[in-house]
């Protein structure tokens, strides 16, 4: 297990090295700094400042880019997190139903829903959703993270927690206000995510249902739901998690597009605004922040996979 950890970290460091190279190149290309004598020493000084968390200062508001980026990206993560919870609550059961009863009415209905969810362009749905409160006559905020009347100091960067920290001033109002701002954007993202999760779950469940040990479970005289509960779910979960891991960057990419429509102050909006104002330093910073997050989380997910699926543990010794 320890060896596995070391090996993963070693692989991670190579990937991270490539990413810093990319970021370095991008920064020099966009900002057009002169690389006069020694590219190496330039790179190392760049690396040095990155490790210290110094990505330079924004030309727009003279704030350190790294901090602004982290705060913005944590807002994106909040959005993804909520969408994810909605998607799992809706998508998993639907995917399981579809996978268990393949090729009948239920399956076709669920797969049609999933296909529609995939085919709807997210930014367009987001626009429709911004009109929705107006059309239906409900009051839901459609722009920003939180009403500007609340002044919330940045402590952790996660607005959900920060707004809870100011309860003595606003009670729970700030927190609830932030939640209502999250509803529409996360629903839009959840629409896409749900269809992905339905697709993945259905595929995984069908694969497991075809396998021999499910046949054997039938001969044991177990009921259908006993089989699903005891044998199917545990074996179907690892491939689903694995696939979601591969899709992390797509999910974040969609989240960024949605933010721009809702003017939700996340990484997407930050990038969009900065690029429009000619602040290209944010590109390499965003690259390192987002990719770094995806790298670390994929390693964590790998670990969870090894922990929950014993057959993975075997391959871990085999492919060394």
């Amino acid at each position: 297990m320890f060896n596995y950890l070391l090996r993963r970290i070693y692989l991670l460091s190579i990937t991270a090295f490539i990413l810093t190279l990319l970021a370095f190149t991008i920064e020099h290309w966009t900002v057009h700094t002169q690389i006069d004598d020694n590219t190496f020493s330039h790179y190392f000084s760049y690396l040095n400042s990155i490790i210290k968390g110094d990505f330079g200062v924004s030309i727009i508001d003279n704030q350190p880019i790294f901090n602004t980026g982290l705060v913005a990206f944590s807002s994106t993560l909040e959005l993804c997190f909520f969408a994810f919870i909605i998607a799992i609550i809706i998508g998993m059961p639907l995917g399981i139903f579809a996978g268990l009863d393949r090729n009948n009415g239920v399956d076709y209905t669920i797969m049609t829903i999933a296909l529609i969810g995939l085919a709807l362009p997210v930014f367009w749905v987001a626009i429709i959703f911004t009109i929705l409160p107006h059309a239906l006559g409900i009051t839901l905020p459609i722009d920003g993270n939180i009403s500007p009347i609340y002044e919330i100091p940045v402590v952790t960067g996660l607005l959900l927690i920060d707004s809870l920290l100011v309860t003595e001033r606003y009670q729970l109002d700030a927190f609830l206000n932030h939640l209502t701002h999250l509803i529409l954007p996360s629903t839009v993202l959840a629409l896409f995510l749900t269809s992905e999760i339905i697709r993945l779950t259905r595929h995984a469940i069908t694969m497991v249902m075809k396998s021999n040990y499910i046949k054997a479970a039938h001969t044991k005289g177990l009921t259908r739901w006993q089989i699903v509960y005891r044998h199917v779910l545990k074996n179907a979960l690892p491939p689903i998690i694995h696939q979601i891991r591969l899709q992390l960057s797509t999910i974040i990419s969609f989240a960024m597009a949605i933010e721009i429509v809702f003017s939700y102050q996340g990484a997407g909006m930050w990038l969009f605004a900065s690029i429009h104002q000619g602040d290209y330093l944010v590109l390499s910073a965003a690259l390192l922040i987002i990719s770094g997050f995806i790298l670390i989380s994929s390693i964590i997910i790998d670990f969870i996979l090894v922990l929950i699926s014993p057959s993975k543990r075997k391959s871990l010794y085999a492919d060394q």
């Binding site: 001969t219 044991k220 005289g221």
Partner: protein, 343 residues
């Protein structure tokens, strides 16, 4: 007395090219307390019959039978709930490639525990909390594993299937199959791709179960030689038709169907002295695919004794419990001198 009585079992599979009949009017009569061997080449439909008996078939199969009784239970009219009840307690099955039939993400202990005689819900819940109940389960599992010849039961119950050899996995499968003392055990080529020693162990185990616990066993195999000594009754199946069926004596000593004779000739007997570089006996040709069957007798094109009548399908004939499906059976009085078992 017949434990399993099947009359005119037919299985059709629906494919893109239309319906294909893969089992054609098979009759199977298994006597209580016997070992019944079902022998046929791979692809001849042995496993299909086993799956039809268990009701494990897919949706695109059409299974029809005039009679399909296990004791006094009509298998063809069972609801899925009633079928679940008899699974494990009346019929159990073991498969080839046993490892793939064990759940890869669960320890052997949990998998065996699943098949132990059903308990009420609250007991199952308490067994997780109260160590005493768990201990009694452990005792039962230990006895089961010892019964099938697994010595180091402690290590085995704590392992995952991928950590065990195929032989041990098959023994675990057998342990799970016999946990509820079923009346019929179906063994679907239980020893394919195993070492000879393990094969012998498994066969000995099955024989012991039959002798000591009076368990009826339907033994499916593609190797006539390996199971013929074990079986009390033997049926041979060729291309979805049962061509000959009878007791061990009848089949081995006086085979009537040319296919059976060919099968018996394929058993190499070294004491008879096989000629150096002599050809081993086989039928010419190969088994036809299920959608390209010849008309009439299905063995027709490969049969050494085929005549003009063989283009029509022969009916099954019963000679004192010895059933054959052939126009020109080799009757006792005019035995072929070449048959090695005609003493």
């Amino acid at each position: 007395m017949a434990l399993l009585d099947i009359r005119n079992l037919s299985i059709d599979i629906i494919t893109a090219q239309g319906k294909i009949r893969v089992i054609d009017k098979a009759n199977l009569n298994i006597i209580d307390g016997s070992i019944h061997g079902l022998v046929g080449e791979s692809g001849s439909g042995k496993s299909l019959i086993a799956k039809a008996i268990l009701g494990l078939h897919n949706e695109n199969w059409i299974v029809t039978a005039d009679r399909m009784f296990l004791g006094n239970i009509d298998l063809s009219k069972l609801s899925s709930r009633a079928r679940r009840k008899i699974m494990g307690t009346e019929i159990a099955i073991i498969f080839q490639n046993p490892r793939s039939y064990l759940d890869p993400s669960k320890k052997i202990f949990d998998q065996i525990r699943e098949v132990l005689p059903k308990k009420s819900h609250h007991k199952r819940f308490f067994s997780k909390v109260v160590p005493k109940l768990r201990a009694s389960e452990q005792q039962i599992i230990k006895e089961l594993l010892h019964k099938v010849g697994v010595q180091n039961d402690q290590a085995v119950v704590q392992s995952y299937p991928y950590e065990l050899s195929e032989g041990i996995c098959q023994k675990v499968m057998i342990a799970m199959a016999i946990a509820n003392n079923p009346r019929l055990l179906i063994a679907d080529e239980p020893t394919t791709s195993m070492e000879a020693v393990t094969q012998a162990q498994i066969f000995r185990l099955l024989y012991k179960l039959n002798q000591l616990h009076n368990m009826t066993i339907l033994l499916l195999s593609n190797n006539f030689g390996s199971i013929s000594n074990l079986s009390d009754y033997i049926s041979l199946i060729y291309c979805g038709q049962i061509v000959e069926s009878g007791s061990y004596k009848q089949i081995v000593n006086s085979p009537m169907h040319p296919y059976t004779q060919a099968m018996i000739k394929t058993i190499i007997e070294f004491d008879d002295g096989v000629d150096h570089k002599g050809q081993l006996y086989t039928l010419p040709g190969s088994i036809p695919p299920a959608n390209q069957l010849p008309i009439g007798c299905r063995l027709g094109p490969r049969c050494p004794k085929a005549q003009r009548t063989c283009v029509s399908n022969p009916e099954a004939v019963n000679y004192k419990g010895h059933i054959i499906r052939c126009h020109f059976p080799q009757l006792d009085d005019k035995k072929d001198a070449n048959t090695p078992h005609n003493k």
